[in-house]
Every structure is written in structure tokens, then in C-alpha cells.
Subunit: 311 residues, 2 copies
């Protein structure tokens, strides 16, 4: 019995067909940048049909780029999707278009965490934090073996937890949220606002108008002093937020992924892990492992939403 | 059918006899300051016999001042109890002495949170954070209606989460843990180490060798500038840690208690709530209510450990 998992991202929409935890087919399309929710959902339906042309899969799971009202299939807001500023019944739309099969929708970071928990770096750990650092910073929580969604579907927003409470050396950083230090968008904003003479060399690495993850690993390789300082802060802030979550929840394992963290690689992971370890309380230490499923994790996790027995 | 709840504290041991959520008898004894675990446990047995001389209660719940290995009844360490530096089977000892009745043991802050959730300020909220600020700062978590213990029994240690990650203006504060700013012991240590001319006026309020909670409310009433500054920091740090927990877990309600917070009263609660609100992300706001059960909350919560149907 097969299931379909779909990772609906701001850039691309990726579908996988999963049979007993194995990906047996894959398809992707660019996510439309205009045309509103209808255009986006047509793409979702399209990739589902591409991986399962016969319509054999018994259910569909979708990871969406925003908080999902638990149990509803409704995505109320998605800043990275076109004109998505109101409640859209994603589950209902897709189910109707795909022959009334069951559709379950959850947040993209939650499903990526679920995938790492069941099939990736977090296997065997029932109390796990999945942290994904990319343009922003998000997390998913596995507590006593189950994904924590929260009553409003908002659990896991580690990027918006706080790692400073006053006396910010530089108020332009923001309110002291983790993402202010460890999110790629925030880092780019700070470089652009900086008067530091080393900022220009970092901005020379801009591609397609943005400082991508590769730019940061290149600036680090070139030992750009501003880049090294900002990346130091990113690791320290991320580790502080992770340590707080580990201590508050008695977490046993942290899985670190996301485009930014993965590009910065083993050096970054080890740095974060070291700082988490020094901040442990009593026996609440948790190793930090690199995410193992990469790009396909989100779609795989979405499939797991409708395949609970695959554990 | 009655149950016994016992709050085993560093200073006193309080027992209540509970019948359908109502306290029908109460007894307390000073907790021995010497004689090791045996002396302490004899006191626990004694107060149980005082509230239930006929031995009618069907089970006993105990709140203990330290992390408890989940499901074991074992308290491995309790810094505020005499010579308690090794595994002690609290549940087994008390059960044997009280006619082999079932005994459940959990952390004191966890049981106080459970009491506020079922019978106090947190009624009706299935996703609740109970924060208790006294000598130290601890918390209990109710997630989806259940108490979070964590695999090692260490969940809820909000006092050891972090509200600063670098550039501490004053390294003597510690590592930037919440308790460094908001725990009464840490505040006293900072006043004693201070060169500030206003420190002496605060230290004039020492009683029995310690700066008690009343000293802080008196220093605030006298508008002592150092006290006001430290209490401002305490509220801000506590609010920052609470806001992080609210955002990470999608918490709906915060209950604030503990001797220090309760003595500082409504002014302190309102200040903390205001700062939590300004730090909300999306719809993750949570009001901060004052704990309602006061001194008896711990013992009542301990009774609830063995009275799950009383909800």
C-alpha cells in the first residue's frame, strides 16, 4: 500500500511516492510565483499525479510552509506563497481533486522532523528536537514519540525564541530572537546595513540578488573577519536556543538540518554541539547530529503523516 | 475514597488528606535538618499518619525537592535535604511503612503545576506552563492535558534555560541562566558581591542570615535604586524565558507562583505578563495568571498523582 508525500515549498513543490518507508517515485515542479492559492494547489495536484498516475496511493500527506490549524487541513498564511493571506482549505481542495482520498496537512518543519525521527538521524529517540536553519530558523518537537503541534499549530518556532533580554550591543539586530542571529535572511540584512569594511567582500558573493548559503561558506573559507564574527554569533545563538529547549523539555537528541546549516557542514555542527554541551543542566545533555535525509526529508515526512504504521 | 498528598520541602513537610479534590485534613512537621534520608522519610510517614490515622486512604502521592526518575519512586539527589546525595527509594520506603499502599513520587514543581492545572488558576487550559520563582526558579509543563516529565524526569527546568548568550555586562551574574537573574538566592549573592552604595540598605533587611522575599518587597517599597534595577532584570529575564517557552511549545496560559513572585504580588505579575505579551510570535500569546493554591498547592498536586479521575 503506497502513500504520497508532498513538500510544498516557496521555490519548488516536490512529491514522493512511498512504499513501506522507501521512496519509489519522485517528481517536482517550480511553485508558481503568481496566480494565488489556486495556481499553487494545481501544482500540488499535478506532482501527485506525476508520481502516482494510476491513483493507487491510499492517502496524501502535505508539508506546508506555514502553521497549519491542527486537524483542519487549513493553511491560513504563507508569506512565501503568492497571495496566501487568508484561510485556504488545502486538504479539502487536494482531496476533492484526487478522488476524495484522505489528505493530511502539517507544517513543513514538523514533517521534516518526523522524517528524521522515523527514518533519519533521529531513529530510536522518542524525545527529539529537529532544528532547521535556512532563510529562517524553525524546529519540530518529538515528545514521548509524538509530534508536538500545539493547540494552535504553532509549536516549534525556535527561531522566535529569545537568546537575549536586554543590552543588545546592536539594536539593529532585532529583539534578540534566535533567527535574528542564525537566520540567513537576518544575516544578509545585517551585512547590508553594516559599515564594516569587510561587508563589501561578503556582498561581492551575492548571486541572484541574494546572499545564498554558499556565499557564507565561501566567506568563511576566505576568513572574512565580519563573516567569521557573524557565523560565530549564529552558532552561539543557535546553541543557546537549543540548550534552552533541551533543558526545558529533557530532550535526548538534536538533529540539525536546513540549507544554511548543511552548507556550513561539520564545522558548524560541531561548534553548535560543543556550545549545547557546555550549557547542559544536570543530565540534560543531548548530542547534535546532522540531518540525514536532505532535500527529500520534507516530502518523506509528509508521507509519514498518513502512514503511521511505518515506524 | 480518599488519597494523601505530601509536599516534602527543605523546611517543612506538609500532608493533606484529599476527598474528591477537597482538602479534608492537613498536618505539617519541620523537615529534619540532620539524620539523612531515614529521618526525612520517617517524617513523611509521620505526617501521613497524622492526616489519616485510620489508614483509610487508598494511595499516597509525594512531591519531592529534586528530579525523580520517572515511574521509579527514586529520588537520586536533593540539595535541600540532609545527606541526600544518592539514590533513595522514597516510594518503596513509604509504601512498606504504610501497609503496602501504592505510592507515586514526582518533582515538587511538577505536582504544584498539576494542582494549578486541575484545581487552580490553570483550570480549563490543556497547554499550560506553571512557573515558580522562589530561592530558585522552576517550572512544570502541561502539554495536551498531561504533565511532561521527560525521559530522565528533568523536564521543566526553566531556571536553567538561557536568556543571554554573550556580552554579559557583568560576568559575575553567571552563564546567563534565567535563575541567575530571577532566583532569590542569585539575587542575594549579587547584592552581597556588589560595590553599589545602595547594597548596604538592602542588606540591612537580612533576617535569619538571609534576604527573604519580604526584604525584596520592602526594598522595592523604599525605592532602593539597586533593588529596583535588580527586580526589573528579574521580571525581564523571567518574561523572556517564559516567552521562549510559550513560543516554542504553543502554550496557552502561564501560571506564576512561588514565594518570591507571590510576595512581589500583582505589580510583578503584571510586569512579567506585559513583557511576555510584547514577545509573542504570531498568535502565541499567553496570559500570565497568579497561582491560586498557595502553600497547599504542592501537597494537593501530590494527591492528584494518585487521583487521576478527579479532573
Amino acid at each position: 500500500m503506497t502513500t504520497i508525500g508532498i513538500d510544498l515549498g516557496g521555490t519548488k513543490t516536490l512529491a514522493v511516492l512511498v512504499d513501506q518507508g522507501e521512496v519509489v517515485a519522485k517528481a517536482k515542479r517550480p511553485t508558481p510565483r503568481a496566480g494565488g492559492p489556486d495556481a499553487v494547489l494545481n501544482t500540488v495536484v499535478r506532482v501527485a499525479e506525476m508520481v502516482d498516475p494510476g491513483g493507487d496511493a491510499h492517502a496524501i500527506g502535505i508539508g506546508a510552509p506555514g502553521p497549519v490549524v491542527p486537524g483542519s487541513g487549513i493553511l491560513p498564511a504563507a508569506p512565501n506563497l503568492p497571495d496566501w493571506d487568508h484561510d485556504v482549505a488545502v486538504g479539502e481542495f487536494v482531496s476533492e481533486r484526487l478522488g476524495a482520498r484522505p489528505v493530511v496537512v502539517d507544517n513543513d518543519v514538523n514533517v521534516a522532523t518526523l522524517a528524521e525521527h522515523r527514518l533519519g538521524a533521529g531513529r530510536g529517540f522518542d524525545n527529539m528536537l529537529g532544528v532547521f536553519a535556512g532563510t529562517g530558523v524553525g524546529a519540530g518537537l518529538i515528545l514521548d514519540g509524538a509530534l508536538r503541534q500545539g493547540p494552535r499549530g504553532l509549536a516549534g518556532e525556535i527561531g522566535h525564541t529569545f537568546v537575549a533580554f536586554r543590552d543588545l550591543a546592536d539594536a539593529s539586530v532585532g529583539r534578540g530572537e534566535t533567527e535574528d542571529y542564525a537566520g540567513r535572511n537576518s544575516l544578509e540584512r545585517r551585512v547590508r546595513a553594516s559599515n564594516d569594511p569587510d561587508a563589501a567582500a561578503i556582498l561581492d558573493l551575492v548571486k541572484d540578488g541574494r546572499l545564498k548559503s554558499k556565499a557564507w561558506s565561501d566567506a568563511r573559507a576566505a576568513a572574512n573577519p565580519l563573516a567569521l564574527c557573524l557565523l560565530d554569533d549564529a552558532a552561539a545563538a543557535l546553541a543557546t536556543a537549543i540548550a534552552s529547549a533541551v533543558v526545558l523539555l529533557d530532550i535526548e537528541l538534536v538533529v540539525l538540518g536546513g540549507g544554511f546549516a548543511e552548507r556550513l557542514g561539520e564545522e558548524f555542527r560541531a561548534r553548535v554541539e560543543g556550545e549545547v554541551m557546555t550549557r547542559a543542566f544536570a543530565d540534560t545533555t543531548a548530542p547534535v547530529r546532522a540531518a540525514r535525509l536532505g532535500d527529500v526529508g520534507g516530502a518523506l515526512g509528509a508521507a509519514l503523516l498518513v502512514e503511521p504504521a511505518s515506524r
